[in-house]
């Protein structure tokens, strides 16, 4: 039995409605408890800001796509190198660091739970292997279903229950956590050298539209009672005028779940563009934020862009090809058989570039114009908008109008006429930041009942203590202190152990992976469905029996069993 007592902590815990109360946190055997014995080890937090461990609900840190980003950018590996030190392995890389690099840098910022945003089911083993070497965070993987042949056939036949059954079988087989749709239908069209321009374009051969895919999969998700909602990367990413497509997509979504949203729309910054081409490109964050405010069934994340060098990687193959034609730099393109695809391009976002400046502003506007912080979460779609190490700067920008104005003065001068940002006075407070970086993310992922994102007794003892005194620091003026404070925790506690202390990771750690296993009736077990088996063996390059990820790929794991209505 190990016990730990964090004394005099200034706690912000939004899921329990606690805002800045000074209290003690008792921990026994990796869980929060009511009280501990006198023998417990004591950490005196001296009134420092203490929150549940950070949760990142959309990041790309592990898997084939991330690894190919490393592989094609050896120059990125020359940046951010650290030698072996104490319990820490050597790391390298800046926008696509090694797994240890990701894990240490997240941990130092107080993050304890991460969701890999896009795992191709066929290549799931690689993701799980890298999870094992991301030791200081619990992980889960959203699984890609955007161009799944069997699902599109079931949708064409109007059989939503079969869609759910295929998803149930696949998630259990690849040990995935939630459903990710990346440019639904578009990646399949890309295998024919085409794309879909918005939700009403039919996918070649299958003759289903993205709108049908989204609607069916959303309904299937609720039939399976998955913890997370459908996680959607809308069609038409990164093109001027795409905001209308985004609004049309949001309009498709019914409110089907009382506990959480029905749709998680990711990196909405990339989907909130006005104009008809790059010359009259402008921000449409206002209509998007207004629309989301009226629909509690939608939660989005920012996908904030920050200036500097990074790597874009997505399952959205056709979009990356368009990006390649703009940049004429390195490009990778990948096809995942009957499932999806991907593309990768290194990019540099520049202050002097008008388009990049507008993108930077749009992300901030989405966060500031969305009244309810539970509906707009803080991400950069790491590393697409910026590497996650920029989160503290984004927090600084959201909390300080002064900082925003200072930054605004350094970007392209024409930005002012294209974006509403300069007129926005709102400055987020500590509580709202806590919602956007942990509580809201845990709620959106549906993992608060599993003890994530809050500090109630019974919760996992994941705690971040930041060297900030919220009664002394004025974030609006002293934004640099806020940035420094969120960059380096005083203590990061994971599963009841101190894992990082003032920028140093002090233990080796061991990761746990969350995955779901929906229970379906015999009739809907795709493992025994003759048609599914026949098509699988005919079109995949692997045998169906070799497809599921074996248990040994999951060192420590937590299976979430759900009762499906099938």
């Amino acid at each position: 039995m190990t016990e730990l007592l964090v004394k005099n902590a200034c706690v912000i815990d939004p899921l329990r409605g606690i805002n800045g109360e000074t209290m003690d946190i008792a921990i026994r055997d990796g869980k929060i408890v009511e009280e501990v014995s006198d023998a417990a080890e004591v950490i005196d937090a001296h009134g420092m800001l203490t929150m549940p461990g950070g949760v990142d609900s959309h990041t790309h840190i592990c898997g084939t796509k991330v690894n190919f980003g490393r592989y094609m950018s050896p120059e990125d590996m020359r940046a951010g190198r650290t030698p072996r030190r104490g319990a820490m392995h050597a790391t390298s890389g800046y926008s696509v660091p090694t797994t240890y690099g990701n894990s240490y840098r997240y941990s130092v910022m107080g993050y304890t739970t991460l969701l890999e945003g896009a795992m191709a089911p066929l290549e799931a083993r690689h993701t799980h292997e890298e999870f094992t070497y991301t030791p200081l965070q619990d992980t889960m993987a959203n699984t890609l279903f955007d161009g799944n042949w069997a699902i599109m056939e079931a949708i064409r036949d109007g059989d939503t229950k079969r869609v759910a059954a295929i998803i149930a079988w696949t998630l259990s087989a690849v040990k995935g956590f939630g459903i990710k749709l990346t440019n639904p239908g578009g990646t399949e069209a890309w295998q024919w050298g085409k794309n879909v321009s918005c939700i009403r374009d039919p996918v070649p051969y299958f003759e289903v539209t993205p709108a049908e895919i989204i609607r069916s999969v959303v309904e299937a998700n609720e039939l399976l009672h998955l913890p997370h909602s459908v996680h959607l990367h809308c069609n038409n990413l990164g093109t001027p005028g795409n905001y209308s497509c985004t609004l049309g997509t949001f309009g498709l979504i019914p409110d089907l779940n009382e506990k959480r949203q029905t749709l998680y729309a990711t990196h909405v910054q990339f989907h909130a563009y006005g104009g008809s081409d790059w010359k009259d490109f402008c921000s449409k964050s206002e209509p998007i934020a207004r629309y989301v405010a009226m629909r509690p069934q939608i939660v989005m994340d920012m996908g904030q862009v920050m200036f500097g060098r990074t790597t874009t990687m997505t399952a959205d193959g056709p979009m990356e090809f368009n990006l390649y034609r703009l940049h004429h730099e390195k490009w990778s393109n990948h096809d995942v058989e009957l499932e999806t695809g991907s593309g990768i391009i290194p990019v540099i976002y520049r202050r002097k570039n008008l388009v990049n400046s507008i993108m930077w502003a749009i992300g901030l506007e989405l966060a500031l114009l969305t009244e309810n912080p539970w509906q707009c979460l803080l991400t950069t779609d790491n590393p697409n908008g910026a590497p996650f190490v920029k989160y503290p700067e984004i927090i600084g920008l959201l909390m300080s109008k002064k900082y925003r104005d200072a930054e605004f003065a350094t970007i392209h001068p024409d930005t002012e006429s294209r974006v509403p940002l300069p007129a926005i006075e709102r400055e987020l407070d500590w509580y709202e930041i806590a919602v956007m970086t942990r509580a809201g993310q845990a709620k959106a992922l549906g993992i608060q009942d599993l003890g994530k994102g809050h500090l109630a007794p019974g919760a996992d003892a994941d705690v971040a203590i930041y060297p900030l005194r919220i009664d002394e620091v004025d974030p609006s003026a002293e934004y640099q202190k806020v940035i420094d404070g969120f960059s380096r925790t005083e203590y990061t506690i994971k599963r009841g152990r101190v894992v990082a202390r003032r920028g140093e990771c002090v233990v080796d750690g061991s990761n746990a992976t969350f995955w779901v296993k929906p229970k379906v009736s015999e009739n809907y077990d795709m493992g025994k469905d003759p048609d599914f088996i026949e098509k699988f063996d005919r079109y995949y390059t692997v045998r169906m029996s070799n497809y599921p990820v074996q248990e040994e790929y999951l060192a420590r794991n937590r299976c979430i069993e759900t009762e499906a209505e099938l």
Binding site: P74, E75, D76, R78
Partner: protein, 255 residues
């Protein structure tokens, strides 16, 4: 000030030594420097017989002379900004990485990556240079940006890869793919080479011998006179918008 470093014979002579501390500037404050042999850090005088003549206030006044079996001595002159390094024999990989000033003279052969990503100064190699002489590094967008590299013998493959500025002159032949991805600067190969200037975006490449396996995406423009030679001019790689200039004495396409 003249610093003489004579390599001591070592039992395990085959283990490379990483000696990025051997830079003229560092000798202004004495010879108390460290180098790595494999995973062990050693004092300079454990590896070399060190003798110093005179003194100096500026790195420009320092001359370092290396002798003995130095062909496994790596990273000599890395980030050097002034002064002189003379190598009486051969030198190991990555000599003169990132150098911005001063002179390195090598009397023997140089191993790979000589003058990688250099920004200024001069390197003279009296023998041959191995692969990736005066080049960039893996994945990098820009290679050498300034200074001069002159090789009197032959050069290996990927000579001046990603060249972005400065001058590279090879008096003998060069290997495969000299000037690949070059975007600026001048590359001169006095002998023959294979597939010059692939995917070039800018700069000028001169081949005074024969360009073998000439790349088909260069468009022949005509004949020009250059420093007393009649050369055939091609415009830069059409696969990359055709912005560079390639001049060759003779050329042959792959059959």
């Amino acid at each position: 000030m003249k610093v003489m470093l004579a390599m001591k014979p070592a039992a395990k002579w085959f283990i490379p030594i990483e000696a990025e501390s051997i830079v003229p500037k560092n000798f202004l404050s004495g010879t108390d420097l460290l180098v790595w042999r494999g995973n062990r850090e050693l004092r300079l005088d454990e590896v070399f017989s060190v003798s110093v003549e005179g003194d100096a206030d500026r790195s420009e006044e320092v001359e370092v002379v290396l002798s003995g079996d130095t062909f496994r001595l790596k990273r000599v002159g890395e980030y050097m900004d002034g002064g002189t390094i003379t190598v009486l024999g051969g030198i190991g990989m990555h000599c003169g990485n990132f150098m911005s000033g001063g002179t390195i003279e090598i009397h023997g052969n140089a191993d790979g990556w000589l003058g990688r990503e250099m920004a200024g100064g001069a390197i003279v190699c009296r023998g041959d240079a191995a692969d990736y002489c005066a080049s960039g590094y893996r994945g990098g967008r820009k290679g050498m940006t300034g200074g001069t590299v002159e090789v009197f013998g032959r050069a290996g493959d990927f000579l001046a890869e990603s060249l972005a500025g400065g001058t590279v002159i090879v008096h003998g032949d060069a290997g495969d793919m000299p000037g690949a991805e070059m975007r600026g600067g001048t590359l001169v190969v006095n002998g023959n080479c294979s597939r010059p200037a692939a995917n070039m975006k800018g700069g000028s490449c001169y081949v005074y011998g024969t360009a073998q396996r000439m790349i088909p995406t260069f468009r022949k423009i005509g004949t020009v006179q250059h420093e007393g030679r009649a050369l055939i001019r091609f415009s830069g790689d059409l696969a990359n918008r055709g912005k560079g200039n390639l001049f060759v004495k003779g050329y042959e396409y792959l059959d």
